[in-house]
Symmetry: D2
Subunit: 361 residues, 4 copies
Amino acid sequence: MTDTRLQDMRAQVDVINLQILELLSKRATLTSDIGKVQAELGTTFYDPQREAFMLEQLERNNKGPFSNETIKALFREIFRASLALEEKEARAKILVQRKTPDEKTIIRMPDGYEIGNGDFTMISGPCAVESFEQMDTTAAALAERGVRILRGMAYKPRTSPYDFQGMGEPGLQIARQVANKYNMYITSEIMDLSQIPMMSDYVDIFWVGARNMYNSFLLKALGHVRQPVILKRGMSATLEEFLYAAEYIVSSGNPNVILIERGIRTFEKWTRNTLDIGGVAVLMLESHLPIIVDVSHSAGRRDIAIPMAKAAKACGADGLMVEVHPNPPVAMSDAKQQLYIHQFHELMDALGDVRKEPVAT
Amino acid sequence: MTDTRLQDMRAQVDVINLQILELLSKRATLTSDIGKVQAELGTTFYDPQREAFMLEQLERNNKGPFSNETIKALFREIFRASLALEEKEARAKILVQRKTPDEKTIIRMPDGYEIGNGDFTMISGPCAVESFEQMDTTAAALAERGVRILRGMAYKPRTSPYDFQGMGEPGLQIARQVANKYNMYITSEIMDLSQIPMMSDYVDIFWVGARNMYNSFLLKALGHVRQPVILKRGMSATLEEFLYAAEYIVSSGNPNVILIERGIRTFEKWTRNTLDIGGVAVLMLESHLPIIVDVSHSAGRRDIAIPMAKAAKACGADGLMVEVHPNPPVAMSDAKQQLYIHQFHELMDALGDVRKEPVAT
Amino acid sequence: MTDTRLQDMRAQVDVINLQILELLSKRATLTSDIGKVQAELGTTFYDPQREAFMLEQLERNNKGPFSNETIKALFREIFRASLALEEKEARAKILVQRKTPDEKTIIRMPDGYEIGNGDFTMISGPCAVESFEQMDTTAAALAERGVRILRGMAYKPRTSPYDFQGMGEPGLQIARQVANKYNMYITSEIMDLSQIPMMSDYVDIFWVGARNMYNSFLLKALGHVRQPVILKRGMSATLEEFLYAAEYIVSSGNPNVILIERGIRTFEKWTRNTLDIGGVAVLMLESHLPIIVDVSHSAGRRDIAIPMAKAAKACGADGLMVEVHPNPPVAMSDAKQQLYIHQFHELMDALGDVRKEPVAT
Amino acid sequence: MTDTRLQDMRAQVDVINLQILELLSKRATLTSDIGKVQAELGTTFYDPQREAFMLEQLERNNKGPFSNETIKALFREIFRASLALEEKEARAKILVQRKTPDEKTIIRMPDGYEIGNGDFTMISGPCAVESFEQMDTTAAALAERGVRILRGMAYKPRTSPYDFQGMGEPGLQIARQVANKYNMYITSEIMDLSQIPMMSDYVDIFWVGARNMYNSFLLKALGHVRQPVILKRGMSATLEEFLYAAEYIVSSGNPNVILIERGIRTFEKWTRNTLDIGGVAVLMLESHLPIIVDVSHSAGRRDIAIPMAKAAKACGADGLMVEVHPNPPVAMSDAKQQLYIHQFHELMDALGDVRKEPVAT
C-alpha cells in the first residue's frame, strides 16, 4: 500500500506538522500575554472585531488549495483554543467542574449530617404538603428508615393557574413542625427570589424546580443564602446548561449545590419523562457536585421506581429523590407517581446498603 | 357480511346505547347541581376521595365481562366529562381560548396603533442593546419600512454567567431615546418581577422570554401592569402549557398578551430549534390572542429567514419577530442569526403586503 | 363541607353509576357475542361504518347537558373497550406481552447455553469485522471472561453511501472462523431479507439494527428462521412500537426474540443518544422477552460505559451489549465508543457476579 | 482600550497567522498529492493509523502552552479539512447537493408532465386503497382540480401486525385502473426490494416511506429502476441523514428523487408530528432535488391542513402531499388526518395560483 513516493511525501507532512505546532505554541504564548494586558485594562478577552479583521486578512492572503471558508473555519478553531487558554488562566476553570478525579463537594448540615460524602442520600416525602396528618404519617415512615431530608413543598409550580398551587406559608409551618418532631431537614421549592427572607425561617435546603433552572436572577440570589440549594435539571435542558445554572449559584457565593436529574422531555409516552442515566454518569465525570436521581418525576409512575432506584444507585449517584404519600390516589398533585408507604419500605429493602457506589475514574 | 343474528344483536346494542345516554344525561344534570352547591360552599369541584369511593363501589359490583380496570377507566372518563361540565359552567372556559371563530384580541397602543387587527405586525431590532449608534442605525432602517415595535433588550438571559448579560438600565435609556426619535414602541425582556417598577418607566411592551414561560410568579405579576405582554413559548413547552402560561397573565387581570412561537428543541442540528408552524396553526384555532412567529431563534441562522417569514405570514400568523443588527458578526450575542440591514430590506420586499392572511375557519 | 343536599344528590349519583355499570356489562356481553359471529363469518371486529352509525344516532338523541362531542367521546371509549374485549377473547393478548409476573422467555442455544435464564448475558465484539487479527484478538479477551456471544458484523448500515459498508460475506467467514476457535456464537446484522439464506450458513443469532426495526417484511421473514433474533429499538421508536415490532417476528413463528434498548434521539449533545433506562424497566414489566442494554450506541463514548453497565445490571436487564476493539482510535466505525480491551476487563470486574438482578414485581 | 503594547503584540500575531496559513497551504498541496497516489493505488483517503501516528508525534513534541488535547483537537480539524479537500477533488461533491443557486432537478414524466419545474405539484389521494369506488370518487375530485399524481397505496407499514396492512396487488390493480381513467400517475409505497418487479407493472413513481428511509438496500435497488422515487424523511431523521438517503438512490444511478418532509417526532401532543418548515427552507438551500411538504402526517389532523399548506407553498416548496378520502371517519387508517373532498376543494381554492414561490438565494 505504501510506496516510496508516499513515504517521502508523508515525511514532508510530518515536518510541516511540527512547524505548525511551533507556530501555534508561539501564537498561544503571545495571545496569553495579550490576555494579561487586557485583564489589566479590564476588557473582555473576546473581541469579535479583532477576529473579523484577522479573518479578513487571512482571506486576502489565501492562495489555496484550501477554500477561504476552510481557512476561516480552521483559524476560528485556533482563536477559540487561544480564547479558552486565556479564560483558563484568568479563571482556572468553571467552578462546578471537577478538576481532579477525586474532587467532591461534601455538604455539611448543622448537626454534621453530610451529603456527597459517599453515603447514599435519600430525599423523600409527598409531592406537596396537604395536611399535618399527611406529613406526619409520611415522615414517621421515612424516619424509621433513616431518611433525614424531607420534602416540604408549599408552593407548587403548576401548568394551569386553576390547579392546586400549594398551601403556602401554612404548609411550611406544618413541614417545619413535622421535621422537628422527627429530627429531619426540610427542603422546599422556592418560586421567586422575593420569598427568600420568609422561607429562610422554615427551610433547611432551598429547592429550585425544573421550571426555574434558567431563572438566573433567582439563582444569583441563592448564591447569597446560607442554606444549600437543590437544583433540578430543566425539562429540556442540556447537561451543559444544567452545569452553567449551578455555576450561577456557585459563582455568586454559595458552593453548596446539589444537582438533581429528573428526566427530560422526549416523544416516549409510557413514561412521563426519560430519565437520562447516561447524563448522570457524564455529570459525575464533569462535576464535583453531589448528584441525586429523581425517580418519581422521571418515570411518572410508581411501578418502576424500584428498578430505576437500583439503576441510579448502581451508576454511582449520590442519592435518590422519591415521592411518598400515605394515600397516593387522593393526592392533590402527581397522584400516579407517589409511592405508597409499603412500597417505600420495599424500595429501601431493595436498595440495601446505604453506601453509594464508587465512581469509576 | 351481516346476517339476521347480527342485525338482531345490533338492534339490542342500539337500545342499550340510548339507555346509557339517558343515564349519562341524568347523571350530568345531578353532578352539575352538586357543582353549584359546592361553588356556594366554596369547595373545589375535584374531589379525589369521592372518586375513589365511587370507583371502589363499582369495582365491588362489577360482574364482568369487562375487567375492573376497564370499568374504572370508563368511569374515570365519565367523571372527567362531568368535571369538565362543572368547570365550564363555573368559569365558561379558559380565558385565552377562542369561543367563536371570529373572536380576536386586538391590542391597542396609546396612539391607536394596533396588534392583531389584521395587519401583519413586525417586531424587530438587534438581539441586545449594545450602543446608541447600533440602536440608532437599526431603528432608522426599521422605521423606514414602517416597523413600530423595537426590540430594546437590556437584560439577556444567558446560559453561562460569564457571557454578556446585557447593558442593564443604561441600555433601556438608549432604547427609549432611540424609540422616541423614530416614534416607535419598545419591547424589552423582564427577568424578575422585582424589575417591574423600574422597567415600567422605559418599556411599552413587556417581554417574557422562553426561559421564564413557566415563571408563574412573574406571569401573575404581569397581570397587574398596564402594558401589553409578549410571551414566548418555552423551549420545550407543549402548546397546552403555553396557553396556560398566557392564562396566568390574563386571569390575573391583563388581557393584552401576544404569543410568540420561537421553535422547540429537537434532535435536528442544522437549525437551532425547530419552528413549529403546525403549532402556530393550532394556536390560531384554539386562542384569540395575537400570534407572532420568531424566525430568528427558531432558525438560528439568517440564510433561511425569508422563506420562513413567508411561511409564517402565509399560515395566518399576526406578525413576525426578526433580529436585525448593523454588523451581525460582531454582535455580542446570537451573531449567526441576526439579519444584516440589507437582508431586512429584502425580507420586507419579499413579504409584500402588510395585511395578514385570513385564518381558515 | 358536605351538607344533606350534597349527600342526597351523591346517593342518586351512586345509583345511576350502578345502572350504567349494568348496562355496560349487558352491552359488553352482546358485543362479545357479535364478535363470535363475526369471527365465524371471518370479518374483522372493527367496523367503522357501524360506529359512525351509532355515533350519529346518539348525537341525534342527545338532549344535553353533555355536548355532542362529549357524548361521542365517551361512547368511543365504550366502543374501544368492547373492541378490546373482543380482541382479547379472540387472541388472548399480544404474544410478546407478559401475562404473569414470572413468565419469561428463555432462549436455548444448541449446546444448552441460555439467554434470559437469570444469568447476565454479555454480547460483545467490535463494531464491525475488519480483519482476522482484529476479531481474533478481541474474541480471545472476551472468551477469557466467559462471553459466549460475539458481534460479527459484516454489513454496516451507514448514513453516507461513501462510508465503510462492512466487509460483506468475507467478514462473515472471518467471524465464523474466530467464533469456532473460541467456542462462541455469532450475531450479525441482516440488512435485507434476501440475505437470509446466505447468512444462515454463518450466523447463530440474527441481528436487526435500529434502522430496520420498522421493516415489517424483514421481521416477518425472520419469523421463519430457526435462529433467535436480536431486535434493536429504533432510534426514535416508542416502547409500544418496539414491542409491536417484536410481535411481527413472534406472530410469524419465531418466539426467540431478544430486545435491545440502545438509546433514543433527544436534544442532548454530550451523549450520542439518551439511554432510556426507565424504558428498560417498563419493558421488563410488559414483556417476557429477554432485554439487553446497549451501552455503546446509547452513550457514544467509552468513558461512561462502566457506570451505565452497572445501572443496566442493577435495573434487572438480562444482559449487556458493549463494543470492544483492540485499537478503537483506528476503528473503521464508531471509534469513540468502542472499549479498549483493558477497559473491557475493568467493566467485567465492575459488574462482578454474572447473575442478573431479580425483577421487582 | 488598545495601547502600544497590545498593538505590538497583535502585529506579531498577524505575522504568525500568515506563516501558519502558508504552512497549511503547503501541507494541503502535499496531502492532495498523497491522495492522488492513493487513488492510483486504490486505497481510501482516510487512514486512521497514519493519523494516530501523527497525533502521537505532535503530542511528544508539544511543549505548551496549549494542552496536548487542544493540539490534537486542532490538528484533527486540519486532518479533516485535508481529507475533505481530497474527497472533493476525487468526487466533486455529494451528488444531491446544490452547486449553484439555480441548479434544480426537474423530473419529466412520460407525457411531459414535470415536477420541480416551478409549478406547485399536488400529490393526493386516500391514505390507502380500500375499494374501486373509494379511489374512483377521490380521483374524480382530484382530476377536476388538475392533480396528476395519485396515491395508490396497497402496502401499509403499520405499527401492529394486527392492523390493516393494505390490499396488496389487488389494490395496485384498482389504483392503476382509476389512474388510467383520469389520466393520472400512481405513486405507491414499496416495502421491500423484492417487490420491485411486480410493482413496476403498476406504479409510475415509487414511494419510500418514513420507516424505510434508512433501508440502504432498498434505496440502492431503487437506483436501478426507471421510475422516479419519492423519499420521505424518517420520523426522527436529521436533514443530513435525509440527504444521504437520497444520495444512496442517486449514486446508484437514479437521479429522479423527490424529497418529502413529513414532520419529525417531538414531545408535542396536539399535532401528530412537528412539521419542520425551517428544514424545508434548509433543504432548498442545500439540494437541487424537488421538495414536497406532507401536511397530513405532519399534522395528524385535518383542521389545520389549509394554513399549513399555505405555509408550505409560501416557503418555496415544490409541492404538497395531502390525503383525501370520500369518508374519512370510516377510513381503515389515518382517519383523523384525511381531508373530506369538500375540504380538498377549499384547500385548492386557498392555495390559488399553481406556480411555486421563487426561492430566495
